[in-house]
Symmetry: C2
Subunit: 279 residues, 2 copies
Amino acid sequence: MEPRRTTVEPPIHLKIADDIRLMIESGELAPGDSLPTLGDICEQWDCSVNSARGAISLLRSQGLITGGRGKAPVVRIPPGKVVRSSDRHQAEKDLAYRPEEERSKVGEAETNLGMSIENQQFSTKYEIVDAGTEIAELFGIAPTDEVLRRRFEATNEKTGHLLSYSTSYIPKVLIESNPALLDENNEPWPGGTQHQLSTVGIEIMCMVDQVTARMPTTAEAQLWGLPDGVPLIICRRISLDADDRNVEISDATYPADRTELRFVTPLEPWPEKPTPLKA
Amino acid sequence: MEPRRTTVEPPIHLKIADDIRLMIESGELAPGDSLPTLGDICEQWDCSVNSARGAISLLRSQGLITGGRGKAPVVRIPPGKVVRSSDRHQAEKDLAYRPEEERSKVGEAETNLGMSIENQQFSTKYEIVDAGTEIAELFGIAPTDEVLRRRFEATNEKTGHLLSYSTSYIPKVLIESNPALLDENNEPWPGGTQHQLSTVGIEIMCMVDQVTARMPTTAEAQLWGLPDGVPLIICRRISLDADDRNVEISDATYPADRTELRFVTPLEPWPEKPTPLKA
C-alpha cells in the first residue's frame, strides 16, 4: 500500500475542505444548508476557482455534501439508520419451534429488515448451481457439487432502488430430502431459514458474521441510489449446525449511510465471585 | 437522499471504468499491473483524453487502483486482512482469573490487535473529563459527571501511520476506589480492561458492538496512510456488567481494506429434538 505523501504546506483545496468540514461538524452549516458559492470560496480563502472546485469535489467524495453536477451543493441530510441486530438469530430460532400460525405472522420483512414493509417489493430467486471453488471450500465439498443458491431482494417500489440484498448458499445434499425447500414459490417461508432447515433435522447452533466495507462500483451505486462518498458494508454470515458443520453461507450488502449492524456477545460468568484480585 | 439520475446512454467514462473493473475482476489485469495508458484508452474506447482521465479518476475513488498524480496507475495490491474476532472477549474474561504471571505474558498487542507486535509503537493517554451529552446518556449519568477517557494508539514505527486507534470511556465513580486504574503509567495492564474492572468488583457479562462505515476525512486518510477509495469501519462497543449497566464504551476505527471484524453468535439449543415439524 502506498502512503500519501505528506507536504509541509498542504494544497489550498485540502485546507478549504477541512475548514468547511469543521463548519459542518460544529453545526455552523446545518444539514440541508447550501455551501458557500465558488465565488464566495475564492474570496474567503483567496484561491482560484479550480481550488474551490477541488474542495467541493473532495467534500463530495467524503460523503459530506450532495448536489453539484449543475445543482448547488448542500450539506448532506444523513438518512436514519436501520439497526440489524444479531439478537434476531435467536428470535428466529425460537420461532422455528412455534406453530405455523404464529410463524406466519412474523414476516420476513420484520425479522430480516427490521423496518416497515410499506413500499417494499420483495423477490426471491432459487437456483441449483455448482458450488464453485470459494463456496465449496467453506462447505468442505467439491466445486462441482450442487448448492441451492437463493437471492433475496427488496426494492423501494417508488424509486426502484435496492433496500436489501443477499445471496445464500446451502449444499443441496443437506436439504433435498424435503423438496419443498427447493421451490422458490414457497417463499416467504413461515419462520424463515431456521425453520426450513429444521424440517430436514438441522439445528443451527452458531452464526459467524464476517464484516468489512468497500466503495461501491458504479452499477452498485446506481442500484442502491447511493450518493458519492458512501461505502457499502459487506457481511458474510456462516451458520454452523450441532456437528460444527457449515450448513449455510449468506452474503449480504448494506449501504453504510443507512445501516448499523449490531452484534451481541454474551460472556460466560466467572467460575466464582472474584475476591479482590491483585493488579 | 438524492438518487443518481439514470440516463439511457451512460457517459463513456463510466463504461470505460466498468470495462476495466471487469478486466481486474476476471484477472486479465492482475494486482500490480499497469493500467492502459491514456493514449491506449482513447484509441481502444474511441474517446477524449478527458473521458479517459475521468475513468481513471473513478477507478481510483472506488479503491481499485493506486498511483496517478504523476505516477502511472496500477491495479491495487490488496493488503492482507487482520481478523478481529469477538471470541477474544471471552478469552480476555477468562484471563482475568489467571495469575498475574500468566496475564503478563499475553500482551495487549496480541489480544487487541491479533497481529505481531514488531514495528509497532504503542501509546496510551488517560484523562479525566466531563462525560458530555452523548456519553452521559449511554451511562445514565449527568453530562458534567466525570469519566476516565483512555486513548489507545498503535503506530507503525517505520511509516508513522496508525495501525490501531480507540477511545474508551468509563464513569470515574465506578473505578476510583482503585487509584491504580486512573494512572496511565500502569499500561499495558496485565490482562487488560476486564482484569482492571475485576479489581473494583465489576464483571462484564455482555458486549454489544455497533458497526458501520464511512469515508475518512483528509486528515484521517493521512494518519492511516489510506489510498483513495478506502472507507473506515466505525465500531462502538458497549460493555455491560452483571446488573445490565453500561460500564465501558469503546469507540474504534479500522481501515476497511485491512480489517475484517468477526462476530460469533452462539444460539441456545431447542428445548427438545424437533420431530418432523410441519412446513
